[in-house]
């Protein structure tokens, strides 16, 4: 066993069995190691700082699906909770909610293979998105690095979020981008889904024999470790163009230079409506690979050179940006790809410029390099501004719905009496991306408080701020979603499922049924995906009256879901 052997948390006989499975170098009960193993990811401010997540009692590092299944069976035999993680990076990466669980660190599972012709990659849990993106690019393919960034696990990201800038032409429903997988059920059975169930070499297609079971493991979000462990997966890659990106630059401003058949355009429009109209018009064409609006404060972040600390540099810049400037700056960012040929790129550029002209836009001089899209995505700078990345809601739906969501959020934030608790966004329109070739839009609404203020253990933190911010973060998103219809993504991570299920046909009951079916002892990922219920238990005030009322009213209807 690695490190100090301690058996006051998990019985020695369990540890010895686990050691037999993974080898002595790949298991530890050392508190120095275990206690350093949690508190990562987006949930840091909510779960870790508030004591919701717990240190594991043991960490094991399996290397094969069979080892994972054996570990799970041992845990079942002894009634010990377990939870997996792979990249240990974004989202609630270490979701142990009870003491003395077994953490399965899947980083040793790093097998990978790419079928270039049929455009898919087979990966195990330890492979990250940046690696996959790089390998795909070598093969005239691209991989969708999600908003969580290139550091996220390929496999885990497909089961949790699985969307990013590149979802303009590849479905954002990441379960539909999964061709096959190996799943260790919460009781330790190994199942194969997708075409992999048909044979060992059949990793190419995700439909089931009849019903598609991959959809069980991924909906709008995922089970966050609460439904067993997926160890191996085949994911789709997408046709791109044959030339490589060239990395360049140093330090905080590294970028990739775009190859000749890939080109970015930053275009300024006179009004927001003109920008949105241009985006709508692009959606009616068949051009473009990325279409988005980058919020102003993210643009300010990108300008920080890093000679001094980023945070001061950011605020030195952002503090001098006026609301008027923000209100009058409307920049769209568009990526064109000459997938067929350079002639295609030229054609698409002409079409884009036609639209720009019609909408009174002006194409700005655009550096043909990119810092984030192809590798880093959000993670490049998201914690930089205040130390806390607090997404209130993210969602996707139609153009009109998403626009409304953004307007509602902007308005709520602008008129919030305690808005100075957060980074002043100056009335800025939140993230806005176009997906599914114009059929959907995606948005993320962020608030960023000071990380110190969110920390109950920080004697210098502002307890009152934390006291009112948590309810704001947890309750505002779901209420907005019901007002606008925009489908939120943070059930289970930011907001509790159980409290919202009633507004969505009581889907939480289905989750409970299947959780009971497949994890009768409740050992897989402890309470996930019901982790937020733990927060609510400890702090019932986080669910505001407005929230409760909105849910209850939604349940009553009338709604299209009600039988006529």
């Amino acid at each position: 066993m690695k490190g100090r052997e301690v058996f006051d948390r998990i019985p020695e006989e369990v540890c010895r069995e686990l050691e037999t499975i993974v080898g002595s170098e790949n298991i530890t009960t050392d508190p120095n190691i275990c206690m350093s193993n949690y508190g990562f990811g987006f949930g840091h401010e909510v779960y870790y700082l508030h004591g919701v997540t717990q240190a594991p009692g043991a960490i094991v590092m399996p290397q094969t699906t069979e080892e994972v299944a054996q570990i799970v069976r041992v845990c079942n035999r002894y009634g010990i909770p377990f939870h997996p993680y792979s990249s240990h990076c974004t989202s609630p990466s270490d979701p142990a909610l009870v003491q003395n669980a077994v953490s399965l660190d899947l980083k040793r599972m790093t097998e990978w293979e790419i079928d270039q012709k049929n455009m898919y990659a087979i990966v195990e849990s330890g492979v990250i998105s940046a690696q996959m993106a790089a390998e795909a690019n070598k093969r005239d393919l691209y991989y969708i690095v999600s908003g969580g960034g290139g550091l996220t696990g390929v496999l885990s990201n497909h089961l949790s979020c699985g969307w990013g800038h590149f979802n303009y032409r590849a479905t954002p429903f990441s379960n539909r981008r999964i061709n096959g997988l190996e799943w260790v059920s919460p009781e330790g059975e190994i199942y194969r889904m997708g075409s992999l169930a048909n044979g060992d070499d059949d990793w190419y297609w995700g439909d089931g024999f009849g019903p598609d079971l991959i959809g069980f493991l991924k909906g709008l979000s995922g089970w966050w470790g609460g439904m067993g462990i997926t160890t191996k997966m085949s994911v789709r890659l997408y046709p791109f163009q044959p030339d490589q990106f060239t990395p360049q630059g140093i330090g905080g401003r590294t970028t990739v230079a775009l190859p000749p058949r890939v080109k970015y355009y930053n275009v300024t429009f006179p009004t927001k409506n003109a920008l949105l109209k241009a985006i709508d018009e692009i959606g009616k064409t068949d051009i473009a690979h990325i279409v988005n609006i980058v919020p102003a404060f993210w643009r300010s972040m990108a300008k920080c050179a890093g000679i001094h600390d980023f945070r001061n540099e950011f605020f030195d810049g952002w503090d001098n940006v006026t609301e008027e400037e923000v209100a009058n700056t409307h920049i769209g960012r568009f990526l064109l790809v000459g997938r067929t040929s350079l002639e295609q790129l030229e054609y698409e550029e002409r079409v884009l410029m036609d639209i720009v002209a019609e909408c009174d836009g002006t194409a700005r001089k655009t550096p043909q390099r990119d810092e984030a899209t192809f590798r880093y995505a959000n993670t490049a700078d998201m914690w930089m501004m205040t130390g806390c990345f607090g997404a209130t809601e993210a969602g996707m739906e139609s153009a009109r719905c998403t626009k409304l969501q953004n307007e509602v959020f902007t308005d709520i934030l602008y008129n919030y009496e305690h808005k100075h608790d957060f980074l002043d966004q100056k009335g800025e329109f939140p993230w806005y991306l176009m997906w599914d070739r114009g059929r959907q839009r995606y948005t993320e609404n962020h608030v960023q408080p000071d990380a110190r203020d969110m920390d109950p253990a920080d004697p210098g933190g502002d307890k009152e701020l934390m006291g009112r911010t948590l309810p704001w973060i947890v309750s505002t998103g779901p209420v907005m979603n019901l007002k606008t219809g925009c489908r939120g993504l943070f059930e289970g991570t930011v907001s509790p499922i159980t409290g919202q299920g009633m507004a969505y046909h009581h889907y939480d009951e289905w989750l409970h049924r299947f959780k009971t079916e497949f994890d009768p002892k409740g050992l897989s990922g402890d309470f996930w995906p019901f982790a937020n219920e733990k927060i609510v238990e400890g702090a019932p005030g986080v669910l505001t009256e407005e929230y409760r009322e909105a849910m209850a009213n939604a349940e009553k209807g009338p709604w299209l879901g009600n039988p006529e």
Partner: protein
């Protein structure tokens, strides 16, 4: 008469009205058979609800009384899955055929399950839109059901294979549900601007995924949101003929990869001739003889903006490719006058209702066997099917074959068609045996049957015991009484 003494028909009539419960022998005979080799079956009655509420009550009653419920959403079925296998009640949903809304800005249509391709296509055409449609489907087929039965669209680029988004569902346990972004409780209330264009969720599961390929065993769909496409302003059809399939697979990968094809399919002369023969039977042989054994058909399309320029760069690419690979690139086909003008239009619509369905035009019946594979594996299945056909004295030359690439060539559906005379009992029986043997041989070779119909279901589920056991664990929650289409899949 008390409820207890009322007949089942009586109880159903209380829900839907007595005119919507039918059990005459003619009705039973009609609903108890379809165009497949599945044997006709008898059952209790047909019930036709008009609303989701009525449908829900029927299913709830079924749970109480334990009778089987077999949903049908149109009168046209080709695979036997809508025939009651264990008696019960056919739930005819064809009357729920309202196109609730066409939302142009979201390129989506909100339709009930009984809406047919023909109905939908006509409504869309008026707005310059089109369905994402399989190859010449029967006009009276339900659009939603064809999506759920994974009829692969001819538009093969982008993510077109998944045009269905939010669904309203009644599970086999009688609970109402909405999947996807329309699940919001305030959907269609004032202020809620959602269009239901997002398929997954709510929460950690994609509930819609259980309905794909389910053959009515999980529940029933009431309405769905379908993603649409615009009708192109300009299209140009290209044809690559070949004597050998192996010569066109590699170039096809390139064509798909480089994104120059909107609609794209590979078809053999038999199947193509069944589509283009106007005068049966005399013209068929001549049409077929004029065609090459294999044809890649793809359509380059452009929308409103600079359409000629788009077609130009795509054509330039394919011409260069053809030249490099030594392929013949045609813009028409010998023996099919003006096919290049007709085909793009045809591929965007269902088969005309006033003509015998193309699959039945040759001999009256057609049994397809289809499965998923990858383009580079397609060839290995050809000799297998030929051998099995020959062993059943089926003329190899009569076998139809159609390869539908999916999503830029990620995979493909391979379909073999066996034409036969359904009025000839002996021939039908021979086709039944041929089908079984072909399915078994193909399964052994790695064919991936995502829609296991007929006896294929038994073969697949016996072979994949673990998967079968897992499916059953889900089924017992969605349909605890086992009332939904028993006898289909592994249930």
């Amino acid at each position: 008469m008390t409820v207890e003494t009322m007949t089942l028909q009586g109880q159903l009539a209380k829900i839907v009205g007595k005119n919507n419960v039918m059990d005459s022998p003619e009705v039973i005979a009609s609903y108890g058979r379809d165009h497949s080799i599945e044997r006709p079956r008898a059952f209790t009655c047909v019930v036709r609800p008009g609303t989701a509420a009525e449908t829900q009550k029927i299913i709830q009653l079924a749970n109480e009384l334990k009778f089987a419920v077999i949903p049908q959403s149109s009168g046209i079925h080709f695979n036997g899955n809508a025939i009651p296998k264990e008696g019960g009640v056919v739930l005819d949903l064809s009357g729920m055929n309202r196109i609730t809304e066409i939302i142009e800005q979201s390129m989506a249509a909100h339709v009930q399950v009984g809406v047919t391709w023909e109905q939908l296509q006509m409504a869309l055409e008026a707005k310059g839109l089109r369905c994402i449609i399989p190859l010449l489907p029967h006009a009276s087929r339900s659009a939603i059901m064809d999506c759920l039965e994974r009829e692969r669209p001819v538009i093969q680029n982008y993510e077109a294979s998944g045009p269905l988004r939010s669904l309203q569902i009644i599970w086999g346990n009688g609970e109402l549900f909405v999947s996807g972004s329309a699940s919001t409780g305030t959907f269609r209330q004032e202020g809620n601007l959602a269009d239901g264009v997002y398929a997954s969720g709510p929460g950690p599961m994609s509930y819609d995924s259980f309905f794909y390929g389910a053959q009515g065993t999980i529940g029933t769909v009431i309405w769905g949101v379908l993603s649409l496409e615009e009708i192109p302003t300009l299209s140009k059809a290209f044809f690559i003929p070949s004597n050998k399939l192996e010569h066109i697979i590699e170039p096809l990968y390139t064509i798909l990869r480089r994104g120059v094809a909107n609609e794209c399919l590979v078809i053999n002369n038999t199947s193509l001739a069944t589509i283009f023969t106007e005068h049966w039977p005399e013209q068929f042989a001549k049409v077929k003889a004029a065609l090459p054994p294999w044809i890649v058909i793809f359509i380059s399309s452009a929308l409103k903006r600079r359409p000629e320029e788009k077609i130009a760069y795509q054509e330039k690419f394919v011409r260069e490719l053809a030249s490099m690979k030594g392929l013949e690139l045609l813009t028409t086909l010998p023996g099919l006058p003006a096919v290049e003008r007709k085909l793009p239009e045809m591929l965007r619509k269902p088969w005309p209702k006033d003509k015998i369905y193309w699959k039945h035009a040759y001999k009256g019946g057609c049994q397809d066997i289809e499965f998923m594979t990858t383009l580079d594996r397609v060839e290995k299945f050809m000799p297998t099917v030929a051998e099995v056909a020959a062993s059943h004295y089926y003329p190899v030359d009569d076998i139809g074959c159609y390869i539908q690439p999916v999503e830029d060539g990620h995979a493909c559906q391979l379909q073999f068609s066996f034409y036969y005379d359904p009025t000839d009992t002996a021939e039908t029986e021979r086709i039944r045996h041929l089908y079984a043997d072909a399915a078994a041989a193909l399964l052994n070779q790695g064919a991936y049957f995502t829609e296991p119909y007929h006896m294929v279901a038994g073969m697949v589920y016996r072979k994949q015991g673990e998967y079968t056991a897992l499916l059953r664990r889900f089924k017992k929650h969605f349909d605890p009484s086992g009332i939904m289409s028993p006898g289909n899949l592994c249930f």
